[in-house]
Symmetry: C2
Subunit: 388 residues, 2 copies
């Protein structure tokens, strides 16, 4: 049977779970991984070990793949353009992906198409940060330091809170400039909570929107996702979904697009970040939606009709499992399975390091408090922060 081959660049857990979702679809999977020990490399048959920053490696890898897609946003844009010039289907393509790679490009584009964002601009140095801060003070800044705190981000390479600083003064603003890369300043939004509007779009233009979820972060790292976002007004939910669908279309995204949002206290939604791949805020879909984000990502990059994104349960909650002090989680894992036979555990095969994402759990049901407690308990128990 001439079923296609998906080439996945990057061997992390997103690649692992995309492969898992591709198995029932009958899709062949080829992986470009840094090491044979990477999360996905453990479970995929056709693994190439190599460096995604090397164009020759990418070119050789792409031979025999019907489409190339990604576990992360770190492949240099110019390499993606070179692959496209070779005639290789790169999905999402470099013109879309650059918006997930470069926060400056992303902010400029979203502003251009009228998508609400936090106030922002590229800043040159700490004095420019102070000027940016002052610009946010109604009537103008009276004293140095007015308008702080400000959020500074390197335009490329950040994730999970890395490459992001919240600075309270011009002195604190020095650090982000030390790397010599462009820095984006953003207002620190006084948000009520964080949401994510996730959509999937295919080359022939079909798109589906998952329910808008609430994402609870701890220390810049996603901790809990609740699907759907509790008490979200229908109008706001529809607005967020339409915004995500519009971004996907305007930016030409193919595959899964996560639009991370701030819900402000006055009922607005502002775009925080974009990710053009399966995303932590969509892990709940594995057990909570008719079609998971991973299955729909595969379907989209192959231009297959998309699957139903609707939820299968009233509530689904995902909690990330972070590494704790105990390198071996197996006994805790066994305990969690015994305590909750309905618990859905997803382990990534990664070595435990404190704070590292090594898995996640999903729970679902009709009673949100119960569903949350079960997920929270399992994540805490696996991490070792509770023992009963």
């Amino acid at each position: 049977m001439t079923f296609p081959v998906v080439g996945m660049v990057g061997g992390g857990q997103l690649a692992r779970m995309t492969h898992e979702a591709g198995i029932p679809l009958g899709i062949r999977f080829k992986l470009l991984s840094d090491t044979p020990q990477d999360s996905a490399a453990q479970v995929v048959n056709d693994v190439v070990i190599g460096d995604y920053r090397d164009l020759d490696t990418l070119r050789a890898f792409a031979q025999g793949c019907d489409v190339i897609t990604f576990d992360h946003e770190h492949v240099p844009t110019e390499h993606l353009r070179a692959l496209e010039a070779d005639g290789i289907a790169v999905r999402p393509g470099p013109d879309a992906l650059v918006h997930a790679q470069d926060k400056g490009v992303m902010r400029a584009k979203l502003s251009e198409i009228g998508v609400p964002c936090p106030r922002h601009r590229i800043v040159r140095d700490p004095a420019d940060v102070a000027a940016f801060a002052a610009e946010g003070v109604p009537g103008g800044a009276a004293e140095p330091g007015d308008g702080f705190p400000v959020v500074l981000k390197t335009v490329r390479g950040g994730y999970d809170g890395k490459g992001v600083w919240v600075v309270h003064s011009v002195e604190e603003a020095a650090a982000p400039f030390r790397a010599g890369v462009p820095v984006l300043a953003e207002e620190k939004v006084d948000f009520a909570r964080e949401l994510a509007a996730n959509v999937v779009r295919s080359p022939h233009g079909q798109a589906v929107a998952y329910p808008v979820v609430e994402s609870i972060q701890t220390g810049g790292v996603c901790d809990t996702v609740i699907a759907p976002a509790p008490d979200l007004p229908e109008e706001l939910s529809a607005r967020a979904q339409q915004m995500a669908l519009r971004i996907a279309q305007e930016l030409g995204v193919i595959g899964h697009l996560a639009v991370e949002l701030f819900e402000t206290r006055d009922g607005r939604v502002l775009v925080n970040e974009l990710a053009m791949r399966p995303h932590n805020s969509g892990h709940w879909t594995q057990d909570g939606a008719v079609t998971s984000q991973f299955a729909n990502h595969v379907r989209a990059v192959l231009d297959l009709p998309l699957g139903d994104p609707r939820p299968r349960a009233r509530w689904t909650v995902m909690c990330n499992v972070l590494g704790g002090d105990y390198p071996d989680m197996y006994q805790a894992y066994l305990h969690c399975m015994a305590r909750d036979p309905q618990l859905k555990i997803h382990m990534y095969g990664k070595d435990v390091k404190p704070g590292r994402k090594v898995g996640h759990v999903n729970t679902y049901g009709d009673d949100l408090a119960d569903v949350r407690e079960r997920a929270r308990h399992a994540a805490d128990y696996l991490r070792g922060t509770i023992t009963e």
Copy 2:
């Protein structure tokens, strides 16, 4: 992390789907496969190509596995005993598995423990078959041919209707004896329908029972499974589940046990066949149960706590996708996805041959007629027997 390694003997679709279910569990999977093209060999990282009939191959394969389990029942019993003698955890073990390998041993054991079976005995030759047929006639046979038809089965090696004959005369009874292997005669049960009671049992004795399903066969091959079996009286359902749990316990089964049953027109259930591995009658659990048969098989063979076997939908229907005249199903597969965004397709990566099982589809919902129609349509469309 010291998560265990499951060694799977056999590279068919059951191994493929067991690997898929093991990925989220963080379980390492090692496969012994006949060829690199086998269904599971396409999707597993650690594949050994070798012959499961060779003890040395099995012994070498078992190195580095924490437990050995099976995609099929064809590994010689004496090899399994040798592996056990080496100290290797073989699950299910040879003392249990022999009941799924040898229909004579199975019938003897089930009769011994009082489980209702069709009338049966080992027969020596066609004349003995005629005698067996006559024994089934109330008051004794008056003429030659009375008591026919009779079902004849080779005690080892049959599957999907192979190794099974329905004979209507002493002349027809000659064929099964030509292979020189023992032959079991059974009464031809006038059943109302076929059911399957599937259970999973772990070494520490925990067991779970899936809902009893109806299994519809065409030409000796499973065609459709409906979960739960429609209009099945609760008492009969409970009796079938208890019977399956008792068989698992009495035979010492570890892992998934499928008990294929005849439901007679007078409200009895008789055991037809046993399978000690994930089974076609349990494929619906992938999309229709909280925990799939594959995940629970992995959990059982590792002696992990078992997952909840309860259904997630009112009705789930599985239809097998058989190969038809068209070697390439990709266009039909695309059409089925477009027609039914809720359809769950499971392809095995196998070359299409007429009548060969190359995949299955699952559908679920509240309306049985609709759920059946959707699954039936997709299976027929993929096979090519309908074109709209």
